[in-house]
């Protein structure tokens, strides 16, 4: 490990300059990803780590890999993550309640195992040796080289992975749509129901909300001819949330007029 660090320190090429600028940034943002409070900040820092990794790939001559890393991971996967996280809201931070039992211990063991694997791998890295076969593999072009490997030698593994991904996508769709027990009424169905249903009373739409001398907004109901609030004149969402106001405070005090 120490040898490796010393060896890297000795290279004085543009690549080394780039490394010494980007590597600390990558490490700092990777650590930041673990320690920041908001989930969206974590996701952003992870996206940044992925971009720096992509730049390293490109610097190593793996152009295709670097660009695809940005398109697939930063562009699609992280964006989907963000998509979910954004729905949580700006001010919420993660809850630290353990949902799956034993998850914490299992993840610590897995992390130690992975760390050990990585350390042993990095230790076995050799330095100062000319790479063999890189020129050969890239002789027809980097992209063509990858394509040939992927679609001839590793075509079976490639197909298996794609089948796995499609199964996962299908599974996600089935899970997401499992709650829909009845079909949603579309605009067309609603229109048909209005005109061909039991009565034509709502053919022209639902009654509007109330207009009063001191209030004019969607959160107060309109009044029926007998003076009771019209139930359908305020959105059901507002009613369920408890945001519907009563009409009492807005009514004008009308003096009783005596009939002759």
């Amino acid at each position: 490990m120490v040898n490796l660090a010393l060896e890297v320190g000795k290279t004085l090429q543009p690549e080394a300059i780039m490394f010494w600028i980007l590597a600390p940034l990558a490490v700092v943002s990777a650590l930041g990803m673990l320690f920041v409070k908001k989930a969206v900040h974590s996701a952003l820092l992870l996206a940044w780590v992925m971009i720096t990794l992509a730049i390293f790939y490109i610097a190593q001559g793996a152009l295709f890999l670097g660009i695809v890393q940005v398109i697939v991971y930063t562009g699609a996967v992280m964006m989907l993550f963000l998509f979910i996280l954004m729905l949580v809201g700006v001010d919420s931070s993660d809850s630290l309640v353990e949902n799956i039992r034993g998850q914490r211990i299992a993840s610590i063991i897995a992390a130690i195992g992975l760390g050990g694997l990585i350390i042993s791998l990095v230790n076995r890295a050799t330095l100062g040796v000319e790479t063999i076969g890189l020129q050969d593999a890239n002789s027809a072009g980097n992209v063509q080289g990858i394509a040939e490997e992927l679609f001839t030698k590793y075509v079976w593994a490639f197909e298996v992975v794609s089948a796995l991904l499609i199964t996962a996508a299908l599974g996600a769709m089935v899970l997401a749509h499992s709650t829909a027990t009845k079909s949603r009424t579309a605009q067309r169905d609603q229109s048909i129901a209005r005109f061909r249903g039991a009565s034509l009373a709502t053919a022209a739409g639902l009654p509007g909300s109330g207009v009063y001398a001191r209030h004019n907004a969607v959160d107060v109901p309109g009044l029926l001819p007998d003076g009771t609030p019209a139930p359908t004149s305020v959105s059901a969402t507002l009613e369920a949330r408890g945001d519907m106001l009563t009409t009492k405070p807005f009514e004008l005090e009308v003096k009783e007029v005596e009939e002759d």
Partner: protein, 415 residues
Amino acid sequence: MTTAQLIGTDPGWITLVKGLLIFVVCVLATLMSVWGERRIVARMQQRLGPNRVGPFGLVQALADGIKLALKEDLIPKAADRIVFVIAPIISATTCFMSFAVIPLSGKVTLFGHKTVMQLTDIPVGVLYVLAIASVGVYGIVLAGWSSGSTYPLLGGLRSSAQVISYEVAMGLSLVAVFIYSGSMSTADIVAAQNQWWFCVTLFPSFVIYAISMVGETNRAPFDLAEAEGELVGGFHTEYSSLKFALFFLAEYVNIVAVSALATTLFLGGYHALPGLGFTESWLGGWFTVIWFLVKVIFFFFIFVWLRGTLPRLRYDQFMKFGWKVLIPFSLIWIMVVATLRVLSQQGAPRAVVIGFTTGVVLLVLAGSSLMESTKKRRIRDDAIGEVPAPSFPVPAIPGKSAIKEVIREMEQLNG
């Protein structure tokens, strides 16, 4: 010497000059296109448009920009301050980056140095543009989230879903181009079009790209992320002053960028119109820049034309169109293109190629007529159904006059 090798011989200062030129051209293009868009839309709506500041109102966009910069810069209380500031920066920086691989001209002499007006040429140039576009969306999505308010959040969510979906269709439409040019480098793709432009030979791909590039740039009729009738201003509702100006700049530079990519991939890049090839050597090769600009302006005009003509799509229809029409269609088209390519590479006789093409065309026609007939049947099925008699007097339904009813009833009684 290939383009990549030619660019490789550039000294550092030439690269700097090129980068600066690209930046200046992009900013000028934004100013001009804001003015152009307002004038063209005005003409389409029987108005005059801005014509006060400078000749023909040309400096109007500059004046508006200065006014925008001098406005008060607000950050809402509920906003996430850091992300709120970073978001417009991401948008405004990434939009320039895709121009690095766009070939603006053929071989020219720049300050006594033989080169091409292209910053760099990498073997995966087109993928690089896609990658940059996918990073650029972060600006919009983060702006929507960090504003801490409902409308921007909805705009940001819509935008991320929209761009992810339409990027798939866009990427698929490019595959046919890669298959036919045998490369993903922009310079090679332009070179492959010196006889036939890909918008002719790969017309379906061109159509798919043209549709998805409008979706990708959040422009009307696909501007659901900033639909002013539904979401106030969408993702940039809470932005003002220079931060808003950055989004504004990014939108227009992005339009120019996708137009430039469309020109490069489908309209032969800097090549002259067919039959006018002799003009490419005029002005020491610099005339090719004019051809390139003309084609980009053509695409820009189409963007404006669409905005002036089409109403905004409903969101679910828009997504349905992307996933259920564009993507399956482009997948089928790629299979057809790949088959044709393999046939022609293996030297299959012309009869086989023509037979295959005819078979595909017949299949498509049969499929579309089948769909048409089922659609008609469904409409007919829907039309059946009894109308209940209303509980109050209404005029007779046309064609069913009361007298005819009475006559029929009497006939039934008599007969």
